[in-house]
């Protein structure tokens, strides 16, 4: 039978299996290959909080979705065209998402009575033909095939069995016409010290590729052509990695030493891991005894002249709250990164949510204004981390950066930035000019920004004391004076409000006035942008604004809001930005609020906008 090739504009595939089946790795390899191939892409890893939930259980299913396209895309897609299910539990959890008429590829060797029972199947869905009314199902004995392929390697059968994910990868490479060589090169480096593992995985991958090529079951393969991306040098980048690069870039540009004080927490730990591996850049990372020590050590480093960072997720921010108040009153530069996850409490550690916005804005005692900046795509994490550092140093203030689990672990092709294109970060430590009558004045402010001077310990003649007690402006002496306290509260608020003078004019995608303005922040950007595009193509009068800064808000936002009959605010929370917008602008905005631990779909946003248009 001859094979036909069909050209597609885009495809969505999902790898799903047991936590121990290597689905994240398989997805990662498919992503890297697809990125280098030149497609635009977006990924969504989805894994359980348990490191190894019982094998075969529904709780232990781990999945990785990638959408890739020959066009510019913004989301990892909703319904997969192809689902790879390595066991019955994976099939059970993910089958319902597959696009009608889509393809399901199963590893039949894992469809044992025990696994079927664990997944809650009364009969084997691969045998009772229930799936075949809706999907094209391929049942393949992956375990058995890799065992045969590796027969002469004298490896334990368990190790051989574990290569079955590379069989699946090889098969998908064949279906979508991607090269296997980059993964072979990668394996050779990854398992350099275990050549037998390189060989076994290569054989498994080749077996999968050849299975597609030679068996007569697969009759069609697909091509997704290169995307037409702007000219430049590209790489694929994961959010947390891009964020780490942004911090390192800020350190290099400011010529400050980077100090990270952190305590491990999902989904932020990868930033700690990444920066810890960059000691050759002089970066200092400190894994503290707890979240509070993470932020307070960073604050100590800030006092001492470092570019100080602390990274965490929502529960960690709750613990750091008091120290953030200290950072605000002592007016030290500090970048606080919250990679948001599902809450409250421990919540859904590995799932995404946007429910810490109000915590970021208000979660401290006293009048404690916190600048809040948010990232909107994995690659954007680089620029936002950089900007957070720049503003923190320029205004002598903590800055909170909000990202989320979806951005942190998701990836996209990314045009590699040039450091020379980034705004400068100028640091001028205090010197004699901050003295009055030979006395150093730690709160003698810069007129335009209201930033106080930053005096490096070790500098002769600038000895001074700061702290959490209210200080007299200019002198920095402890002060309980009522007038001074009012003045200082006002000054700290003004200083943060001044940051909006740094912003460019707010960008509006689509119509500049009309029926609906979609207003969003953070990781919903892709879905909102796709929804707005479709709505406009359908002839709707829709505009879309994505906020980067939530505190302060852009100066021109108020005049934009009143140009639309409706304002729709989609958020992965129960309505947080909407509270801010309603109270700041007295606008009757409508929310689209979902907390399913996953991104909001473009389709839901479209539906909601259409409802508002009527």
């Amino acid at each position: 039978m001859s094979k036909t090739t069909q050209e597609l504009q885009e495809a969505v595939i999902r790898f799903a299996g047991d936590s121990g089946d290597g689905m994240q790795l398989t997805g990662g390899r498919f992503t890297e290959t697809t990125a280098v191939f030149g497609n635009d892409l977006s990924t969504l890893p989805d894994f359980p909080a348990e490191i190894r939930a019982p094998a075969g259980s529904l709780a232990g299913v781990s999945a990785f979705q990638i959408k890739f396209s020959s066009k510019d895309i913004h989301t990892p897609g909703d319904a997969p065209n192809v689902l790879v299910a390595m066991n019955p539990a994976a099939l059970k959890v993910h089958q319902q998402d597959v696009a009608p008429g889509g393809t399901i590829i199963c590893n039949t060797n894992a469809f044992t009575p025990k696994n079927l029972k664990l997944a809650g199947y009364e009969s084997n869905p691969l045998e009772d033909k229930t799936l075949e009314d809706y999907y094209t199902v391929y049942s393949i004995e992956m375990g058995k095939i890799v065992a045969t392929a590796c027969e002469d390697l004298n490896m334990p059968s368990k190790s051989v069995e574990r290569t079955k994910n590379f069989f699946a990868l090889g098969l998908l490479f064949w279906i979508y016409d991607r090269p296997t060589q980059p993964t072979k090169d990668w394996l050779a480096i990854k398992f350099a010290k275990k050549p037998e593992l390189v060989e076994a995985n290569v054989r498994a991958m080749d077996a999968g590729y050849n299975y597609g090529e030679t068996t007569e079951i697969f009759t069609t393969r697909y091509t997704v052509n290169k995307a037409n991306l702007p000219a430049g040098k590209y790489r694929n980048v994961v959010g947390n990695y891009a964020l780490s690069l942004g911090l390192a870039a800020a350190a290099e540009k400011s010529k400050l030493e980077l100090f990270l004080g952190s305590y491990p927490i999902t989904p932020a730990s990868d930033i700690l891991h990444t920066l810890s591996a960059w000691k050759h850049l002089g970066i200092k990372t400190f894994q503290a005894e707890d979240e509070i020590a993470g932020v307070t050590a960073a604050l100590g480093a800030a006092f001492s002249g470092s570019l100080a960072i602390t990274t965490t997720s929502g529960p960690g921010i709750a613990l750091k709250g008091e120290a953030l108040g200290l950072a605000i009153i002592s007016e030290l530069p500090l970048v606080v990164i919250n990679v948001q996850r599902g809450g409250p409490s421990t919540g859904l550690p590995t799932k995404t949510e946007q429910s810490d916005l109000l915590q970021a804005l208000y979660g401290r005692n006293g009048e404690a204004p916190m600048p809040v900046i948010t990232s909107s795509t994995p690659g954007d994490c680089f620029y936002v981390a950089y900007e957070a550092c720049r503003i923190a140093v320029k205004y002598m203030t903590p800055v909170m950066m909000l990202t989320d689990g979806y951005l942190a672990n998701g990836s996209e092709p990314w045009q590699i930035p040039k450091l020379s294109d980034l705004k400068d970060i100028k640091v001028k430590f205090a010197n004699k000019s901050s003295k009055v009558d030979d006395q150093y004045m730690p709160y003698l402010r810069e007129k335009k920004t209201l930033a106080r001077p930053w005096a490096l310990p070790g500098t002769t003649g600038l000895e001074h004391r700061i702290g959490g007690l209210e200080k007299e402006d200019v002198t920095g002496n402890v002060s309980y004076d009522p007038e001074n306290h009012h003045h200082m509260v006002e000054t700290r608020a003004k200083k943060v409000a001044n940051i909006s003078s740094e912003f460019d004019k707010t960008e509006i995608y689509g119509k500049k006035s009309g029926d609906v303005l979609i207003l969003a922040w953070g990781g919903t950007r892709g879905a909102c942008r796709s929804a707005a595009e479709s709505l406009i193509n359908d002839g709707c009068k829709v505009g879309y604004v994505h906020l980067r800064w939530i505190n302060p808000l852009p100066d021109d936002l108020g005049e934009i809001l009143i140009k639309y009959k409706n304002v729709l605010i989609p958020e992965i929370n129960f309505g947080q930005l909407i509270k801010v917008i309603r109270s700041e602008y007295l606008v009757d905005a409508k929310g689209l609020n979902q907390v399913y631990g996953k991104p909001i779909s473009a389709a839901d946003i479209q539906d909601e906008a259409k409802k508002l248009i009527g």
Partner: protein, 339 residues
């Protein structure tokens, strides 16, 4: 990093800030501040290289009164803030001023982790066995049965022994002094400074408002000879005015013996500040009524500091990848060019 020797001769005044001291009249903190300001010129280091970090409590107002760099932080977190200062800037001389509530209760976690890391810094823990700033509740070092506003029928929890805790947490320098013993206090500050690694100095400090006389038996002229065991490295452990006494080991158990016909100095335990077991025995005596309270350096050993090892790791990493830059990282991994 070697400290820079000062060319300037300082006096006590150079370490005195222009801020009015606001402790209660008669507080033991005055004596500690005075002795610190007196002895600091003798340390021979530029004053801009000193940083005092404190948490919250009466003792934590200390940095405001020292004319050095200082940071009065939040309750319990001084050790963690100070760790950040020291890691970022190993060239600074970092001092943590804390109390029994700040350092052992709300900040206990940071205290123990500071000691196991052995950052080269100095902890002065003012122990008055009471909460002063919040007006008189019992503290983690108050004796069992302490009657306070929050424990009208007596406290129930067993007190911490700060020095046993320090030893258990891996401290490389453990010492104790008393606010009223001014010369000894100065001496202990000097020794803390001289030690490379985390120095843990407990200072018995009288709170004359809420726990007056807590250490009176150790400071009263009439009693102190029998209640204080002055520790001197390499010397037998003796005390007692009229009847000289000493500490000897009966097997593994220390006991108090009178010197005379039966026991002589040769039978006594000789203090060795590098011996962890002796330090532990001595620390344990604090709450045992039959023993005197040891004062002085309990333990002092040399061990690599966290910041030295970190500096070495970074140096090693830079040596292996010289001239590395963020540009290299940006361009690492699989890249491709779109024309």
């Amino acid at each position: 990093m070697p400290e820079s020797k000062t060319q300037v001769t300082y006096t006590r005044k150079d370490f005195t800030s222009d801020q009015a001291v606001r402790w209660c009249p008669g507080c033991g903190d005055y004596a500690i501040l005075a002795q610190t300001q007196k002895i600091f010129p003798d340390l021979g280091r530029k004053k801009e290289e000193f940083v005092f970090i404190s948490g919250i409590g009466c003792s934590s107002r200390f940095p405001y009164y020292m004319d050095t760099y200082g940071f009065h932080t939040i309750h319990g977190r001084a050790a963690a803030v100070a760790s950040g200062v020291k890691i970022a800037r190993p060239d600074l001389s970092v001092w943590v001023v804390t109390g029994d509530g700040d350092g052992l209760s709300i900040g206990g976690n940071h205290t123990i982790h500071l000691m196991r890391r052995n950052l080269d810094m100095n902890v002065m823990l003012f122990n008055n066995r009471i909460y002063g700033l919040t007006k008189g509740q019992y503290s983690p070092t108050s004796e069992v049965g302490k009657v306070t506003k929050s424990t009208p029928m007596g406290s129930l929890d067993i007190p911490f022994n700060p020095l046993s805790l320090a030893l258990g947490a891996g401290s490389t320098f453990v010492a104790r002094t008393i606010d009223k013993e001014t010369k000894h206090l100065q001496e202990m500050i000097k020794e803390s400074y001289a030690h490379r690694g985390t120095s843990f100095l407990e200072i018995y400090q009288n709170c004359n408002i809420f726990n007056d006389g807590a250490f009176a038996p150790l400071t009263d002229r009439d009693t102190k000879s029998d209640t204080v065991l002055w520790l001197e490295d390499g010397k037998p452990l003796t005390f007692g005015a009229e009847k000289p006494k000493g500490i000897r080991l009966d097997g593994n158990k220390p006991e108090v013996v009178e010197l005379g016909d039966k026991w002589g100095e040769d039978d006594l335990l000789v203090h060795d500040k590098t011996d962890y077991v002796i330090a532990s025995l001595l620390a344990n005596m604090t709450y045992l009524p039959e023993f005197p309270d040891p004062i002085g350096v309990f333990y002092s050993i040399q061990s690599p500091t966290y910041e030295d090892m970190l500096t070495e790791q970074i140096g090693h990493a830079i040596k292996n990848k010289p001239k590395a830059s963020v540009k290299d990282l940006l361009n690492s991994g699989d890249t491709w060019t779109v024309k």
